[in-house]
């Protein structure tokens, strides 16, 4: 093929002048406020489902992650370094890979196909638990390691039992554990790759804020997508603010 000069691609130049881009954001913000004020039933449903799925996942992840992180920090056993490295790697698991693996297990052709969990919120919770647990475990572990190492021997010398000592250390590390919970929640509520795969983004059943944003973007409804994004941020901010306020009350 006789090559002419390759056409210069106008790579990612914004098509619209900047003033319009700002306009898009303002319109999206207006749309977000309008949707919220109108208590749009579809939005409320999607919002509530997002919170339910992520809160359930957070609860299960904490029940596993906090004890596991505490044990990893305090116990001495061979292979601890490897276990720690595995947990830290798990903190950066790509959600879409988690989604794919969960899909393969929950598929009718997979090991747990008979449960019938695929394309339900349960599958979404499972995926989010896998994503959040290493994060909560890892942060719990490092915040416990940061507690004054002399605390435990001192408490033991004063006659405290192992359980009492662990409880005191965990209490001392509570600010860090809370950071783990906030990080875990932030990661799962904003996550889309896994939940769209295992949930299927079914209207009225498994659609959450992030998957609704994907759909609206695909449909070219950029203003609605952006408005949903603003709402997602607002929700995350409110919850984090609440947790931080809680932390302020208990620590200092």
């Amino acid at each position: 093929m006789q090559a002419k000069k390759p056409q210069k691609t106008k790579c990612w130049q914004p098509k619209k002048p900047e003033a319009n881009l700002l306009g898009t954001f303002l319109e999206a913000a207006q749309e977000a406020i309008r949707l919220l004020l109108a208590m749009d039933p579809v939005l409320v449903e999607v919002l509530v489902r997002s919170l339910q799925v992520s809160a359930s996942a957070l609860l299960i992840s904490s029940l596993v992650g906090i004890p596991l992180g505490t044990w990893l920090a305090l116990a001495g056993f061979p292979g601890k370094r490897i276990a720690t490295a595995i947990i830290y790697t798990g903190m950066g698991l790509p959600p879409v890979v988690v989604g794919l693996v969960v899909y393969l297990f929950l598929s009718r052709s997979g090991a747990f196909g008979s449960l019938g969990w695929l394309f339900t919120v349960r599958a979404m919770v499972v995926a989010q638990v896998i994503i959040a647990t290493p994060l909560i475990t890892g942060i719990t572990m490092s915040s416990i390691l940061a507690v004054d190492p002399d605390l435990r021997p001192q408490l033991r010398a004063l006659g405290a039992t192992e359980l009492q000592t662990t409880r005191a250390v965990l209490l001392e590390a509570r600010a860090g554990v809370l950071v783990g919970l906030v990080a875990g929640f932030g990661r799962v509520i904003a996550e889309v790759g896994a939940v769209i795969l295992v949930g299927g983004n079914i209207d009225g059943k498994t659609r959450v804020l992030t998957t609704a944003i994907v759909l609206e973007t695909r449909r070219g409804n950029f203003d609605v997508a952006l408005a949903l994004g603003i709402i997602l941020l607002a929700v995350a901010f409110s919850i984090n603010f609440l947790l931080v306020a809680l932390q302020g009350k208990t620590t200092i």
Binding site: K4, Q7, S107, S109, G110, G113
Partner: protein, 297 residues
């Protein structure tokens, strides 16, 4: 109970085939009350709004709920092969046939078609505007090395694009040819930003155009750009959990005269997006269905 369901299902299919749906509509109401049908389909049928437009009719008639999983054709077929969907609505004829040959599906029916178009900037750097032959247009784009965005995602549209390159006897390669690995809407957005050429289905293009695009239709109307959609029943022998009766009822409904008319009335921006072409009598004649019923009872 199972027999009653089967009977209703047969009534539905035969009436669909015979075109007498209106007369028998009453008795089958709520026959599938509370059941769920999982429909794996391409993004084009869902994102364009077609399914939101036609599905309420089916849900009202049967009392069943349709869960729509909108993914690429490749993924939709994979969901069917794994038994994770009951029925599939996609557009990649050769792969649909391969799916049935592999035993994953039991039957395929024509439903409707729309068409693909080659779109690009109005400047048209390669000069393909108005060409009547898609392969010739691709040859011209490749010769000019003008930027072209490929779906690159194993979708029905991607299959179609590859078949046109094959017809043009070319293997696209070089900086000008970019595989996005994304859905149609995203690819149109990328093509718009880069003022590049791409192959788009009319439904998604029109939906995106309504939101504002600096791309125009350059080549259309070639027969090779014909984009037929088929509905496939997932094989219940492979996966016993598949709701085969509801899936059959769905197919019967989809190819019935009433639904075919409904598809024709779906309009976006004053433009009809899908053209119904089911031949309801083709594979499900009344006699055949009665024979099936006798055999089954």
């Amino acid at each position: 109970m199972l027999r009653t369901l089967r009977l209703f299902c047969v009534i539905l299919l035969t009436s669909a085939a015979g075109g007498v749906l209106a007369q028998t509509e009453e008795p089958m109401t709520d026959a599938f009350d509370g059941e769920t049908l999982i429909l794996a389909t391409t993004t084009s049928t869902y994102d364009s709004g077609l399914l939101d437009y036609i599905l309420p009719d089916f849900e009202e008639m049967t009392g069943a709920t349709v869960d729509v999983i909108a993914v690429g054709t490749g993924a939709a077929l994979e969901l069917g092969a794994n038994g994770d969907a009951d029925v599939i609505l996609v557009h990649a004829r050769s792969r649909e046939e391969a799916f049935i040959e592999a035993g994953s599906g039991t039957a395929r029916f024509d439903v409707m078609y729309n068409d693909f178009m080659i779109i690009g900037s109005a400047d048209d750097p390669a000069g393909i505007a108005g060409m009547g032959n898609a392969a010739e247009a691709f040859v011209t784009i490749a010769a000019a090395e003008a930027p072209f965005i490929s779906r690159g995602d194993d979708s029905g549209t991607h299959s179609k694009e590859l078949s046109i390159w094959a017809a043009a006897d070319l293997e696209p390669d070089g900086d000008w040819y970019q595989e996005a690995g994304q859905g149609m809407g995203a690819v149109i957005t990328i093509a718009n930003e880069q003022q590049a050429y791409t192959l788009a289905d009319r439904a998604t293009y029109l939906a995106r155009e309504a939101e504002g695009l600096d791309l125009t239709v350059l080549v259309e109307g070639d027969e090779t750009l014909f984009n037929p959609y088929g509905v496939i029943l997932v094989n219940p022998d492979e996966h016993p959990n598949v709701n085969a009766e509801l899936a059959q009822a769905f197919v019967g409904w989809l190819i019935s005269d009433d639904t075919q008319e409904l598809i024709e009335t779906f309009v976006v921006n004053d433009t009809q997006l899908f053209y119904a072409n089911a031949d309801a009598g083709e594979e499900a004649t009344e006699d055949e269905m009665l024979a099936t019923e006798e055999a089954g009872s």
